[in-house]
Amino acid sequence: MLKGSPDSGLSVSGVTVQFGGLRALEDVTLSVPPRSVVGLVGPNGAGKTTLFNVVSGFVRPSAGQLTWDGHPFHPKPRRLVRQGIARTLQDVGLFPHLTAVENVMLGRTTQRRAGYVSSLLGLPGSARDERESRRISTEGLDRLGVAQHAERQASALPYPVQKRVALARALVTRPRLLLLDEPAGGLGAEDFEPLAELVKSLPGDPDSPCSVLLVEHHMDFVMGVCDQVVVLDFGRLVAAGTPSEIQSDPAVAAAYLGIDPTDIEVDAGTAVTLTEEPA
């Protein structure tokens, strides 16, 4: 954790976001250690997406600090990829009129060397760049098993394929931190398993290890892939811990089911699934 240590991950401390009279986040502190998968859960409106927007620079916090790589971090959307952070969007965010491979190539925007002028003039350096980018992007699609859709327009692809293309676009930036906004949202159960395997494999990737911060509503998915889970409710952090700790935390049940923590024993019918340890 010395200054400039490239291995100190992301930390968010005391972050508050105020939208007019609404406190979207209040004094939230969490960290994403290197090579870990951290899940962010909570009911709708709990501030999960706001936190993502703070980390990706779309929202400036009214109080609190971020640290990335051991440095104070003031994120700006355009710089994010250069700083090793990639983000997927809740609504997929593909460019519908571009092909799948073109969408992924956009993820390589910052990695290319040839300048504007040489690109406009089509000089040999930029042509090489272009081929290299297309090759890496096709490999990226292949890694997610959707290379056969490379030349199809994004808008024509089925939703689960679009999700994978968006994930490929984030991964070709070779991030060290990946922010996944509802990666399993809208997917059928049959798509969960491969996605979970992929997310779990990212921190240990021998080529470019990457930690993950994800927002997700599917609890099975979150509990299956995360090392740490953070629960937000009304902008406040209500619990943090390993998946099993979270599942047995009464405050979490309260946040999710609107039950008073003291009532849990009484209202066993609904709470039992949450409080029991997984078999």
């Binding site: 959307p77 355009r78 009129h97 073109e102 993820g107 406009l120 089509g122 930029s126 760049d129 272009e130």
Partner: protein, 292 residues
């Protein structure tokens, strides 16, 4: 039949000019949702620059190049000054800004160069060439078709084959997501204005000498017809702008040839009304709903 062939060729050459103006408008509109009403005036200002250089140096091509460079520079200048935040101001403000800029430029040109027509030469002779006894088109018309063709091909190639083009297409659709991928959205938007400025200046250098000559309002009518072409094509689509331009050129040519010159411009508006009635979004509009 000879007459039909002549009018067709003539219409296509004229349409190439309208297509250039339409393309200049569409390049800016699809990235920033700004309709640049000063496009014609900026093109005239570039042509004045070209004329000054031709008179001073005696070289047409030096003046021609100067006009194109000046057009690009004016595009960047307009984007970085008066239109700086125009893409965030809804649809009406940029139109008012554009009309304001149009008045300022045309007045400044009248003060600097006088309000009367100045001579601007064509690149090539305007004498008609004959093919098998039929008067077809002039060398200048050929040059017009060639120049516009080259510009369109370059533009198409840039947009589909280069990373800048990919970034331009992405930015046009969703600047926020584009920015998240490290695209310098501001630079890309300015580049669009530069390209539009160059294409507009090219249109002015090609069309002004075939009319009355160079005067501050020389492009007003051409701008209106270019705008008509862009709307016919759907405002969002470059190929639409091209086809809209050629359709407008043909409509004008046939109308003046068969119906009489007093009906020339009526034809353009009949065409526009027809397209708007049958396909209100324009012939080649994307599937996404537009609010203009």
């Amino acid at each position: 039949m000879d007459r039909f062939v002549f009018l067709t060729v003539n219409g296509v050459a004229l349409g190439a000019i309208y297509a250039s103006v339409a393309i200049a408008l569409v390049i800016i509109f699809r990235t920033t949702r700004v309709l640049n009403f000063a496009q014609g005036a900026m093109a005239v200002a570039s042509a004045y620059g070209g004329m000054a250089v031709i008179e001073y140096s005696g070289s047409y091509w030096l003046g021609f190049t100067t006009a194109l460079v000046l057009g690009g520079a004016l595009g960047a200048a307009a984007r970085l000054t008066v239109f700086r935040s125009a893409d965030r101001q809804g649809h009406l403000n940029p139109i008012v800004i554009g009309i304001g800029l149009l008045i300022v430029i045309e007045s400044a040109l009248a003060i600097a160069f006088g309000p009367t027509e100045r001579h601007l030469s064509t690149a090539f002779s305007r004498d008609l060439l004959h093919l098998g006894g039929t008067a077809l088109l002039s060398r200048q018309d050929l040059f017009t078709l060639l120049a516009v063709g080259v510009v369109m091909s370059l533009l198409a190639w840039t947009l589909t084959r280069t990373r800048i083009g990919l970034q331009m297409r992405a930015t046009a659709f969703n600047p926020v997501v584009a920015r998240l991928h490290g695209i310098k959205v501001g630079h890309i938007l300015t580049l669009g204005w530069v390209i539009a400025g160059v294409v507009g200046a090219l249109a002015a250098m090609l069309v002004v000498p075939t009319g009355l000559g160079l005067f501050p309002q020389a492009m007003d009518l051409v701008f209106v017809l270019g705008f008509t072409s862009a709307v016919i094509g759907g405002l969002d689509s470059l190929s639409g702008a091209m086809i809209g331009g050629v359709a407008t050129g043909l409509a004008l040519s046939y109308a003046s040839g068969y119906l009489g010159s007093e009906l020339t411009y009526v034809a353009a508006f009949v065409l526009l009304l027809g397209v708007l009635l049958l396909k209100p979004a324009g012939l080649f509009a994307g599937t996404t709903a537009r609010s203009v």
